[in-house]
């Protein structure tokens, strides 16, 4: 019920009261008159009558009523009795005293109507929800147990009875809660606490595992050879100890271990590592004559070799080997690494044949950086080599790479030059394309603004356009819609086109500043940096075979021949210059030949006349493409685009930027993630098929604010109450 009706009720009752009161009042007056008359008869005896009135009229809602109208109650009046009553505790007394001393008055509470209104306001302020789902009070979807759907249902037919008998025989649940005895048991089997503890344990175990993994990973990454040596030694010791114990305690497991070791040794023998046939070994052999250290190193290597290739193996050495291999990250394999390696020198130009197949791509990428420091690094490598004796194979490989790189470097300039050319032409093409788009877009934006500026005064017509455009034409096919557009176009052609806003051109900086995203012109710097960057990656490109390149040469020649006269870049520049020239204002010549001077052919104008009668127009504002060498921005109005553009700022928007930003945000899944698309494209009103939508119930209005409601704030605010 709303305020008005109550108001009415009050008013009505008030009327009623008034009528009654009027009658009463008349009686009262008569009585008063009579009394006066009587008193006048009596002379002096004048006595004021104690008046009694209806309390209801002036009763305050706080139910504190002063005796007289103007009387004020003091606090002291109220607590005066405190001193007389001994029952009052000292604490209360103290509190009241302090209260008496403080001058601050408590604000009187709001009137009942007001508080109620505020409460209602709070209760009814519903956020205008984005999406409404009808019907408003839907039941949760999904299957419901039979018991909930049909209450008081009994098995009647024999089939039903049979089914129920079967269910009860198998201890299947018939009533709520629907759990079989087994399920109940399983529910009881593990309590919540237990489950929690279990979960915590599992979590802990998982955490420990991950710590351990992280630790080992870290250790494996440590490059220090010494660290690993120490580590290995410790491990070896450990292993020997364990093995000895194992022999005593568990001979079967020990035998297994032994077998493993044997296998490892065999692999080592196959790989022919630690023989002095490697490059390093050879160089050492040369040096051994003069160098003590080298001789020692060789000796050591030979020893190792002997150790490894002996038929009877000490488990220790083998273990070490295993460790080593694992350090390299390789799996234990029967075949040695270099079997897979391509034979070098067979085809140096084939990039696929150069280098090992297992070569890291990451290494390739970074190799350009390596190039620069190759010399230093190789020097470093050499130093390291002298230190490390056992890593010869790796060193050899490294050196190999180095040499290859050097060779490739020699090739690089050629390739990169080629690349450069390609890159340039490519960028040029791109530039052109992009410039086109940029031009179009700029035009568009400019056009929009122009049109907006031009057509502001047509707002009255706008109001009429709000409705349907009713015509005698029917739309049946897509072609009809096209026709509709054509009509429009012709109409637009007929209509006087508002003059391009030359007198107040839109500030150029404004659109450029605001829609950075739209304007995607090329910035010179960006292009340049890109180009240089590209040159720096020489390894990504391949060297063609001789015949291939020959083919290419031919083709290139052909292309060159075909496009002999086409110089795209200079054409573009010419075109641009032409456009610029066309845009410049013409000099208006107002001289009259022979006026004030001699006339005739071949005569020169005097300076004075030239100065006076040749009018130079003011220079136009700078073109937008001045700073963009690869772009032509046409600032002409394009009618075919105008037709599709909004020519006035639509109503709710206040600035162009607001409107443009709404247009600029894409909605489709091509530009947005699935979730965003779903969120954006939610329909405002959702109805369920075949569901009756009941009118809003008053209880619905009182519901939680999150619930979708229809009543907007205004309609609800001014009060609704339950009665």
């Amino acid at each position: 019920m709303d305020v008005h009706t109550t108001a009415y009720r009050v008013a009505n009752s008030h009327d009623f009261f008034l009528n009654e009161e009027e009658e009463d009042g008349e009686d009262e007056r008569r009585r008063q008159k009579l009394l006066e008359a009587i008193s006048a008869l009596g002379g002096k005896r004048k006595k004021t009558l104690g008046e009694r009135s209806e309390a209801a009229v002036q009763l305050s809602e706080f139910s504190v009523n002063a005796e007289g109208e103007g009387d004020k109650i003091n606090l002291s009046d109220l607590i005066g009795s405190m001193d007389k009553t001994p029952q009052v505790s000292a604490k209360t007394r103290k509190q009241l005293k302090t209260l008496q001393q403080s001058n601050r008055t408590v604000e009187s509470p709001l009137s009942k109507q007001e508080t109620e209104r505020i409460q209602r306001d709070v209760a009814f302020q519903k956020a205008a929800s984005e999406q409404l789902v009808f019907p408003l009070n839907q039941e949760a979807p999904g299957p419901k147990p039979m018991e909930r759907v049909v209450t008081g249902w009994k098995a009647r037919t024999p089939l039903e009875e049979e089914i129920f008998a079967l269910l009860s025989a198998n201890k299947q649940p018939i009533h709520d809660p629907i759990l079989t005895p087994q399920e109940e048991v399983s529910m009881k089997a593990m309590s919540l606490e237990e489950a929690k503890i279990r979960r915590a344990e599992l979590q802990k175990a998982r955490a420990l595992q991950s710590y351990y993994e992280a630790k080992t990973r870290r250790e494996r990454k440590i490059k220090s050879k010494k660290y690993h040596r120490v580590q290995n030694k410790a491990k070896r010791k450990d292993f020997v100890k364990q093995f000895e114990e194992m022999v005593k305690s568990d001979p079967a497991a020990a035998l297994e271990e032994l077998h493993k070791m044997e296998l490892a040794r065999m692999q080592e023998r196959m790989s022919l590592k630690h023989q002095n046939s490697g490059k390093w070994a050879k160089s050492k052999a040369i040096m051994a004559k003069y160098d003590e250290g080298a001789r020692k190193a060789m000796q050591q290597q030979l020893e190792v070799n002997k150790d490894l290739t002996q038929k009877l193996v000490t488990a220790v050495n083998d273990e070490e080997e295993e460790e080593e291999e694992e350090d390299e990250g390789g799996d234990p394999e029967v075949l040695p690494d270099f079997v897979n390696d391509a034979e070098q020198g067979v085809d140096s130009s084939n990039p696929w044949m150069r280098g090992k197949l297992s070569e890291d791509p990451a290494e390739k990428e970074t190799s350009e950086i390596v190039d620069l420091t190759a010399e230093e690094e190789s020097a470093d490598v050499e130093e390291e080599e002298e230190e490390e004796v056992k890593e010869t194979e790796e060193e050899a490989l490294l050196r190999e790479f180095d040499s290859r790189r050097k060779r490739r470097q020699a090739l690089i300039p050629v390739i990169s030059l080629d690349d450069d050319e390609e890159e340039e032409s490519k960028t040029a093409a791109e530039e052109e394309e992009e410039s086109k788009t940029a031009v179009e877009e700029k035009e568009e934006s400019k056009e929009e603004e122009e049109s907006k500026v031009a057509a502001v005064e047509e707002e009255e017509e706008e109001e009429e356009e709000e409705g349907l455009e009713e015509t005698l034409m029917r739309i049946r096919t897509l072609e009809d819609t096209e026709e509709l557009l054509m009509q429009e176009e012709s109409a637009a052609d007929e209509a006087p086109v508002p003059p391009p806003a030359a007198e107040n051109p839109p500030p150029a900086s404004q659109p450029a500043g605001t829609n950075k995203k739209r304007k995607r012109g090329i910035e010179l710097k960006q292009v340049l940096t890109k180009a240089t960057k590209v040159i720096q990656v020489p390894l990504a490109h391949t060297v063609e075979d001789a015949e291939d390149s020959d083919d290419n040469q031919e083709q290139r020649g052909l292309i060159r021949e075909a496009f002999a006269g086409d110089d795209v870049v200079s054409d573009f520049l010419k075109e641009k210059r032409k456009q610029e020239a066309a845009g410049k204002p013409q000099v208006v010549d107002l001289t009259l030949p022979g006026w004030g001077e001699w006339g005739g052919t071949g005569l020169k104008l005097s300076r004075r006349k030239r100065k006076k009668f040749r009018m130079k127009a003011a220079p136009p504002p700078p073109r937008k493409d001045v700073s963009l060498p690869g772009v032509i921005i046409s600032e002409k109005r394009n009618r075919s685009i105008t037709l599709h553009q909004v020519n006035t700022l639509p109503f709710p928007f206040e600035t162009h930027t607001q409107f443009e930003s709404t247009i600029r945000t894409p909605l489709g899944r091509t530009w947005n993630t699935e979730r965003t698309v779903k969120k954006i494209s939610k329909p405002k009103v959702v109805t369920r098929m075949g569901a009756i939508i009941e009118p809003m119930a008053r209880e619905e209005l009182m519901k939680d604010r999150n619930q979708a409601t229809v009543a907007d704030r205004n309609s609800v605010n001014s009060g609704k109450r339950k009665r």
């Binding site: 019920m1 709303d2 305020v3 008005h4 009706t5 009415y8 009505n12 409404l132 009808f134 990250g329 390789g330 075949l335 690494d337 897979n340 197949l357 297992s358 890291d360 791509p361 009429e464 356009e465 709000e466 409705g467 349907l468 009713e470 015509t471 005698l472 739309i475 897509l478 009809d480 509709l484 429009e488 995203k517 995607r520 037709l643 599709h644 909004v646 247009i663 600029r664 894409p666 909605l667 489709g668 899944r669 091509t670 530009w671 993630t673 494209s681 009103v685 109805t687 098929m689 569901a691 009756i692 939508i693 009118p695 809003m696 119930a697 229809v710 907007d712 309609s715 001014s718 609704k720």
Partner: protein
């Protein structure tokens, strides 16, 4: 030895079932999509065009009445049931899914003036020109049983309208006065008069269920509270209102259909001027009904068209007409928000779609997504002239087209004259009166 190969996790690119959409990895960087606006514009344009092409709102026509359809009533519980009363006193019950009449009964002599289904859906009430109120069972009488009303109340005067309370066993009729009846009693429990001799329609507020409103022949709309002994308020307009309908979702708003070709939406708390004037009809508006979502309403007019208006917009979003449809007398919006029913003079009831281009039936999820997306696109670009032009284009019969043109000219002339008068008189002596204020004469309390 380590061989490094390109390896991808199949989870990243293989769909789980063949019903899923293929995964397409995308780079959403806006810098890579310079043409997003123009592409979306094209999509929006296409969507709008297709919308128009697929706009086939007419679903079915229910024929069987032997006189003009004068009133209709929706069933409260069943979507597929519709009741209609004609000018010869016949009431028909229709099955909308089968498009057939399931029951016919001769309810009254003369017009069936009003009809309403009780909130429980088990019975319905009719009033007619024979001064009777009859209550009927919703069920068809069995074989051999006679078609007899459950209850008949003889009134003193002709009843012109009827409405039932949302939850209680109380209904209201209008005629010479507005009466509130208890279902159990044969005399009204309350009668309201306010110096008027006849009312044309009465409606209960569906939310604030104790409130009523009625349209009177003295060009006024009167508000009542069922619990009060006197009417609350009335607003007198320049012309008579034919019927009104409360917004089922916003308790304070109602829309009245007027003889002056317009509809007026009022806030019952501020009757001194309507909130919105809905124009577009070119003849008297006879009936109005809100959509159950409260977002739109449909109006039936003497100009042989049905129009759909958004509740807060001054012009219609849709106009329905067919060659054979004559003056539309009554109109209803179905309770599932999908259909519109119109009863007209030439004895037919027509079933329309509420959204002309909407696909009926179940939509596959992807279909729904696509339609949602298209809808949003249309919304986004609806300021663009071409899209607007296509979306707003409607075909109209010649007569209505010319009439609306004429009306526009008349309106413009009136406006021009007023402007001239203002120009040539003392400033301030001819005040500017807004369209909303023009149509309200006074509010009587």
């Amino acid at each position: 030895m380590k061989v490094k190969v390109l390896s991808r996790n199949p989870d990243d690119y293989v769909r789980e079932t063949k019903l899923d959409i293929q995964r397409v990895p995308r780079n959403y960087d806006p810098a890579l999509h310079p043409f997003e606006v123009s592409r979306e514009y094209t999509r929006a344009l296409n969507a709008t065009k297709l919308d128009r092409v697929f706009a086939k709102p007419f679903v079915a026509s229910l024929d069987g009445h032997r006189d003009g359809v004068n009133c209709m009533a929706k069933h409260t519980n069943s979507l597929s049931t519709l009741l209609s009363g004609s000018c010869d006193g016949e009431v028909k019950v229709w099955n909308l899914t089968k498009h057939e009449c399931v029951r016919t009964l001769q309810a009254h002599e003369g017009f069936v003036r009003g009809m309403i289904v009780r909130f429980c859906g088990t019975s319905f009430f009719t009033v007619g020109d024979d001064k009777t109120i009859k209550q009927w069972k919703m069920e068809t009488p069995g074989y051999g049983e006679e078609e007899e009303p459950l209850n008949t109340i003889l009134g003193k005067t002709v009843f012109t309208g009827l409405d039932h309370h949302q939850k209680d066993a109380v209904f209201a009729t209008c005629g010479q006065q507005v009466d509130i009846w208890d279902e159990q009693r044969s005399s009204p429990i309350r009668s309201f008069t306010w110096g008027v001799d006849s009312f044309s329609s009465v409606r209960f507020n569906p939310v604030e269920t104790e409130l009523l409103a009625s349209c009177a022949s003295d060009r006024s709309i009167v508000l009542y509270d069922m619990r009060e002994s006197a009417p609350l308020k009335k607003v007198i307009m320049t012309m008579r209102s034919n019927s009104l309908c409360w917004n089922p979702m916003e308790a304070y708003y109602f829309t009245s259909s007027n003889e002056d070709y317009n509809l007026y939406t009022y806030d019952m708390r501020y009757l001194n001027k309507p909130i919105i004037v809905h124009m577009d009809h070119v003849s008297a508006v006879l009936d109005v009904d809100y959509s159950p979502t409260g977002k739109e309403f449909v109006s039936a007019s003497f100009d042989k068209t049905v129009r759909i208006f958004p509740k807060d917009v001054g012009h219609s979003r849709e106009v329905y007409h067919t060659k054979r449809m004559q003056h539309v007398i009554c109109v209803k919006w179905s309770a599932d928000n999908k259909y519109i029913l119109s009863g007209s003079d030439e004895m037919n009831i027509r079933l329309w779609k509420a959204n002309a281009a909407e696909k009926l039936g179940v939509l596959a999820p992807r279909e729904r997504q696509a339609s949602n997306y298209n809808q949003k696109l249309k919304e986004k670009f609806h300021y663009h002239p071409q899209i607007r032009r296509i979306a707003h284009h409607r075909h109209l019969p010649k007569s209505i087209y010319h009439q609306s043109k004429e009306l526009r000219v008349m309106k413009e002339a009136r406006r021009r004259k007023e402007r001239n008068v203002r120009k040539h008189s003392k400033p301030g002596s001819v005040p500017v009166v807004s369209e909303k204020e023009k149509h309200v004469v006074t509010v009587v309390k």
